[in-house]
Symmetry: D2
Subunit: 343 residues, 4 copies
């Protein structure tokens, strides 16, 4: 039984980690750290866990030693606490943005500040098993990518791996996301009356996930991020131009070769029906990332599409999957919820 601790356990990502880990057959939650609610019952903050657990939050000081610790902290806090947590856990899985970008220059550009632990950057392995599985098997520091980055990277990866797209043109990523991505802290921007029914372009340029996409793919990438009416779910439309001579068959083969054996990436490519392309609507609660594509052969313009639940495959689920890989457990352990339809 793995002893695991969640730090930042009162947030939305923290709550998903708790939900998944409490249901994980090989994990025991030994600590749920919250600086705001120490001593308070977990299910007072995460009402879906009522009758599932009697645990209470604890302070960081009271957190026990553990085999793995998950950091679901605000950005910037993780890099100030990283030394503290790695000394108390065999494996640290960071879900913040602090250790996602390996180039401190890029970090400065996107985060507007200096990195506080640059020496550790190269020790972090991205928590994205589809691209970094082998390195994850021995990683003690894991940095889970951003939700929209994960959706875009998984959608574009086969095209890059098979060298099918024009690298100069790069990728234009149009990302849509629900409101849970901005966290559990109330503010005017997330007031229901303001956020409900919105199509809010909240980051037309320089979203931090943009830099992650470029880093993982080695491809110039531009991303716009729009909040749409949803609590969970993210979808990325990734526009690129195919190299001359590349056709639908090549793209299909690339996707198949990359993902046929992946337990959590499904290729969605249907001729008919309502769910012909990846749609997060049917993925909520699940750890799947659905990917697909559409191609205008006349213009060689391709749109690769990724969809996921931003809190699961875009965060907590991806982290648990990475832990499974790291610990040599079956990769799908604790992650088999299939999603609901309709919802």
């Amino acid at each position: 039984m793995l002893r695991v601790t969640v730090v930042g356990a009162a947030g939305y990502i923290g709550g998903e980690l708790l939900r998944l880990l409490l249901g994980h057959p090989e994990a025991e939650v030994v600590g749920a750290v919250s600086s705001r609610f120490p001593g308070k019952r977990i299910d007072g903050v995460h009402p879906n866990l009522r009758s599932v657990t009697d645990l209470t939050f604890c302070s960081a000081e009271d957190a026990p030693e553990s085999d793995a610790v998950f950091l679901a902290l605000p950005h910037r806090v993780a890099m100030t606490q990283i030394e503290q947590w790695r000394s108390r856990a065999g494996v640290v899985l960071d879900l913040t943005g602090d250790f996602r970008l390996h180039d401190t220059e890029v970090f400065r550009r996107y985060y507007g500040e200096e990195h506080l632990a640059p020496k550790l950057l190269d020790d972090f392995v991205p928590g994205l098993p589809e691209l970094y599985r082998e390195r994850l098997r021995t990683a003690d520091l894991i940095s889970v990518p951003g939700c929209m980055a994960t959706a875009a990277v998984l959608a574009l990866h086969p095209l890059v791996a098979h060298d099918l797209i024009d690298p100069e043109r790069g990728a234009q990523v149009d990302a849509k996301t629900g409101s849970s991505g901005s966290g559990a802290t109330a503010g005017q921007a997330n007031l229901h009356a303001e956020r409900s029914g919105a199509m809010r372009v909240f980051a037309p340029t320089r979203h931090r996930h943009e830099a992650e996409i470029a880093q993982h793919l080695g491809l110039p990438a531009a991303m716009t991020a729009t909040g749409v009416e949803a609590v969970r779910g993210a979808q990325t439309l990734c526009h690129a131009t195919l190299r001359p001579g590349v056709g639908t068959k090549d793209v299909r083969r690339a996707f198949r070769e990359c993902y046929a054996a992946e337990p959590f990436v499904r290729i969605v490519a249907h001729q008919r029906g309502i769910y012909r392309y990846p749609d997060p609507k049917i993925l909520l609660g699940s750890n799947f990332c659905d990917v697909g594509f559409a191609l205008d052969e006349d213009t060689r313009r391709l749109s690769a599409i990724g969809a996921l639940d931003n809190l699961v495959k875009g965060g907590a689920g991806n982290a648990v999957q990475s832990l499974n890989v790291r610990m040599g457990l079956p990769e799908t352990l604790g992650l088999t919820f299939p999603g609901l339809h309709p919802l």
Copy 2:
């Protein structure tokens, strides 16, 4: 041209008052008072008014004399400021709960505090033209009822006026409402991720509007209030028991006699179609209150139903309608927007 001032102009009710008054052919907005945003442009807070007005908010001190002032303040604040405003305006229309209940004992029970201006209570006429039109023609102090109270009172009024229901049994009112009713101030309860898709019983007993219903109808009334997924809109299902011998025809006649000449109350009683009963969905932005009923003749159980836009007929629109009555203007002036379908 009436010179009008809106106090508390940065809130949601304040914004609706501005929208309606800026489009009112006989009104000129001379003051938009906001304690938070003096000097700031109105359309910075109410983005729907961009290009509609260049006005800025002012502080209370800078508010000019006016023919009418609308108080869209937090509860309790209105009764502390009432003397100040009535000295500076011919007519004061209060949209808070402060002057809705005429019995200080009842006020204490529902608001949990003492009334600060009890002597004024009898001078206030309820801003509900359908019941108090004659008194409104000469009223200088007008208290606009609560949104759910308005919907319930208009749904039940014909039954009471025609003495059709068993007064001892009273009325059980089930109210549903959107999130805008709780105002423009962000808090955990109204965080989009929490409020979205909710069916939240936020006041199963002792909602303040319950006391208003009882007061206007002279009938024991119990109300439960549930927040459902919507920004605007409120609906009340008002359950009562008919007196022996009363049938559908009698109820229909009562509604018709009360409302046939009312410009803003529509009797919705259709045999078929999707919109057979009052539904706020088609009323958003409009000043209509739709009313209807269903009757189980075997059990004499009647459900009277009311629906409205909580910010319009349930607040700002009702206030403007009351002003029109008070000033001898055509009652529908500035209030003719019919609502959108679909929406």
Copy 3:
């Protein structure tokens, strides 16, 4: 391993049955009957089951013998097919309305037609383990109650069992429900543009679940049903009057005595927080029915509240729970998904 068949497997309840049974450790889905889609892949209709199953639908004729068969058919169809299915399965669990009402007179009143298999009515045990667990252990014919009936019955049952409410006054039930309850067949009433954001009173009187409530509780019950913006989820507010002398403590004790040991009924009674009362928002996908109450001690008016996912505890989950009881399996088997927050 139990061999189970789902009839009407292409509908929403059918899809939920498949989701639950495919994940059930002691069940094997041997047949998924659909008259519309024989030969078609299940995941073509239920996209959440992609990569979960390769099964295809079959026709009724091709359905294999099985230990249990679930009928998720349109109303009226179940009673015409019941003999056929009970001859081919050890246990039949019917999720339609056909065998819910044991009094043919009541059936006629609520369904507007004659019952076609009245002799079987007494052989059906209601699939509501909280009230009928012992009888279910040996039942070969099980009739799963309606979703709103289940929520209302579970909310009111402790009050009736402990004789706390005035039976003459009966119960007034106000039910709210999402759109999935009306099934997977498209029609004008469920067109997104019409149904979205609605507060649609679709059955102010004589909803069929009303009769179920009265039957299970032995109490006069009146129910109104309103569709609100949601796909899944149902909530019932059940208004009743306490007998003289009964107080909060008595009610609390009644709930605790009835449900302390129930695995799927949670008593929600919190002094603070957003989720103080049962709200289906946190129950989607789960088999929980949350119950709670609020009491105005001055007037002895009590509102008991029930909430559930209409497709799970209000249908498919309740059926699987009943099957677990019948087969002597752990009652929670295959039903432990805790729900998502936020969603």
Copy 4:
């Protein structure tokens, strides 16, 4: 007083036309043609018009002569009926796709069929006053553009008119839209339970509006269209690359020069606040198209953004505005509703 007729008056665009024209001070609705509902009351189909009008639908044969006729028909039907209607009205405003594309080859590519009235194509003036105002003053045949095309064209037009973007790279348009755009006819794809909460890529390539964008701007344009949770509203993110040396100031000036005098195009360019970029949420019911842009000066990548109500400025409102221009009326007549906030 203009005598106007709406053909296809029972659809969603037809309903918006009726709403706007019934409130238009210089128009009189003399005919509302519906092949499905002749003789039926208009407000039976458009419940927001209850008490606004007593009109009934008529058949095409019974439609009176009129000064202007609006065709809100299904695609393909307009071109079969065009001769009939132009002989009975001074001005024909077509809101279908039939006369939007002037090149029959392009029409064939996007509509998959032959045009049936190619000779008329050159006589149609696009009903987009911002680009074609002068020609509209004398046009007898007007073709109102598609909703997403209008949003994209108005967002990109200043950049093209001022020659600021690299024409070779063209524009990548990412369009989001509500469900009302697909009309009032029920089908599985628009079933509430399926459409609700969706992020559905329904046209990743070859959407018909794509061809309109290219035609109006003379620019290669690729468009993807995604249905998001909304009934009304459309938003286009239009990605392009600026020519070397072009900066924010130039873009800003281009927008200002094009739109400073436009009554229905607002430039939304705010440094802070929730509504910094165009969002249809605050435009529902209004005839505004909000436009804005964001620029990454390092990469010269520009995202121009357009937002509108697909049924108003994206359809019926644009048509009425075009009629106002054609008839020499004040352009804003009947179109001054400012939109609601919050909604």
